[in-house]
């Protein structure tokens, strides 16, 4: 007997799965931001070893497909006899991937601050950490907000890949619902719309923040 599915049934199931997309996005972004901050400070710090390691890390994660990173996190650890559940592999790979990109975005922002700002702070007796804390980071932060929010969209879309290792989020739910309903166009159309509904506010707020932070006299 053939089951009948209404569009509402489809949408309801997709929305339930979208919760996991949102959760995975949040975990990846927050975790990625924390790890990214660490990589950033190694990358721009004074220690040569740290700089080389951080640069290597960024190159590695930017230079390989996210899909391979997911496979390696999922199957790779299995080789050592560690059974990795799909959610853990997904979160780990996405956190490390996000960290690499955020560290690189933020490095650009720190380096955009003119050399003279460091020198003026130094000439007033501030040490490296004080220069960073009071002069460089507050300025870098302002220019970092728009690209960081912009990149969070990539994270949301990146979570779709985790369907391949079996994590049931929006995309995986889409293919499961398609298999049950045989309505691929409706289902994937709705899936795409939900992704859009998640990303569009991010894109808009990125644009708004960019305008706001670039406006003159915006410190008040």
């Amino acid at each position: 007997m053939m089951m009948e599915f209404s569009t509402w049934d489809i949408l309801r199931n997709l929305l339930l799965a979208a919760r996991w997309t949102i959760l995975l996005s949040l975990v990846s972004f927050i975790g990625g931001a924390l790890v990214g901050l660490l990589i950033l400070f190694l990358r721009i710090g004074k220690g040569r070893t740290g700089r080389v390691l951080a640069a290597g890390y960024v190159e590695l994660f930017q230079g390989t497909p996210l899909l391979m990173q997911l496979f390696l996190a999922f199957f790779g650890l299995g080789l050592f006899g560690i059974d990795v559940p799909a959610w853990l592999a997904a979160a780990t790979a996405l956190i490390l991937w996000t960290a690499a990109f955020l560290a690189e975005i933020w490095r650009g922002c720190v380096e955009a601050i003119r050399r003279g700002q460091w020198e003026a702070a130094a000439s007033l007796g501030m040490g490296y950490i004080q220069q960073m804390r009071w002069v460089i980071l507050p300025q870098a932060l302002r220019i970092a907000v728009p690209p960081t929010v912009g990149f969070s969209m990539q994270v949301v879309k990146g979570t779709a890949l985790t369907s391949i290792i079996g994590f049931v989020e929006l995309s995986k739910a889409g293919s499961m619902v398609t298999n049950a309903t045989f309505q691929p166009f409706t289902v994937y159309g709705l899936v795409a719309l939900i992704y859009f509904a998640l990303c569009w506010p991010l894109s808009k707020s990125s644009q708004m923040l960019e305008r706001k932070l670039n406006a003159p006299h915006s410190h008040h």
Partner: protein, 241 residues
């Protein structure tokens, strides 16, 4: 004893030796102009004195303390010697008042009220007390440079290094900055300034140092240097200015 003793200082950038053995003694209260063509090493020398560039050879003593490259001695040095830059380098995210307060509070751990009082006094000294709450971008270049001077003074240095502080100003704004420097000189501040303002050097400085190709080519009182230059290089330089 000289306040700043620069002895046989050498500085190389790669194969390019920018300072080839500089000797200058600066006495307390002296106002010295360093002049010379661009590329003669005068800005580099000033940056070395404040530890923004490390030196390859020789020694720099400020008030008897050696300039060493570690952060603690650099900090101690910079508390004694302030620096004013060609590009002002005010902190754009902070108000004028905060610019002058920041390093007092962060470096010297001065309580906020005290730092603010000092900031107001120093801004008053450069004629900008009314701009306390303005942001740097709202000020003219001349005003920004005066704030930079107030910011350096708030740390109560015993000497100030001025690196072409009027060079990026529109001509009509140069005078207000020089007037502030003139007052500092009159108050007995030790000043070491790289400058292209020959008239100012003539009027205000006790001594003029002419640098040429990484060496002190001639030095002496302004009337002597400008009136009777001994070397053809200085004669040519003075003739052009």
């Amino acid at each position: 004893m000289p306040l700043i003793a620069i002895t046989d200082v050498k500085k190389r950038f790669g194969d390019n030796e920018v300072l080839k053995g500089i000797n200058i003694d600066v006495d307390p209260g002296e106002v010295i102009a360093i002049i010379g063509k661009s590329g003669s090493g005068k800005s580099t020398l000033l940056r070395c004195i404040n530890g923004l560039e490390s030196i390859d050879d020789g020694s720099i003593l400020v008030a008897g303390a050696h300039l060493a490259p570690d952060e603690a001695s650099l900090k101690a040095l910079r508390l004694k010697v302030g620096m004013i830059f060609q590009q002002f380098n005010l902190f754009p995210h902070l108000s004028v008042g905060r610019n002058v307060m920041l390093s007092q509070m962060v470096v010297k751990k001065t309580p906020k009220a005290e730092a603010e009082a000092m900031a107001r006094r120093m801004l008053d000294r450069v004629g900008l007390a009314h701009k306390f709450d303005a942001y740097p971008e709202q000020l003219s270049g001349g005003q920004q440079q005066r704030v930079a001077i107030a910011r350096a003074l708030a740390m109560q240095p015993i000497a100030l290094l001025c690196d072409e502080i009027t060079s990026s100003l529109d001509p009509e704004l140069v005078a207000e900055v020089l007037a502030v420097v003139r007052e500092l000189a009159a108050d007995g501040m030790t000043l070491l300034m790289v400058t292209h303002e020959m008239q100012f050097a003539r009027d205000v400085c006790n001594r003029v140092v002419f640098m040429h190709e990484g060496r002190v080519h001639e030095s002496g009182p302004p009337e002597e240097l400008f009136g009777a230059p001994r070397t053809p290089e200085l004669r040519q330089f003075v003739g052009r200015h």
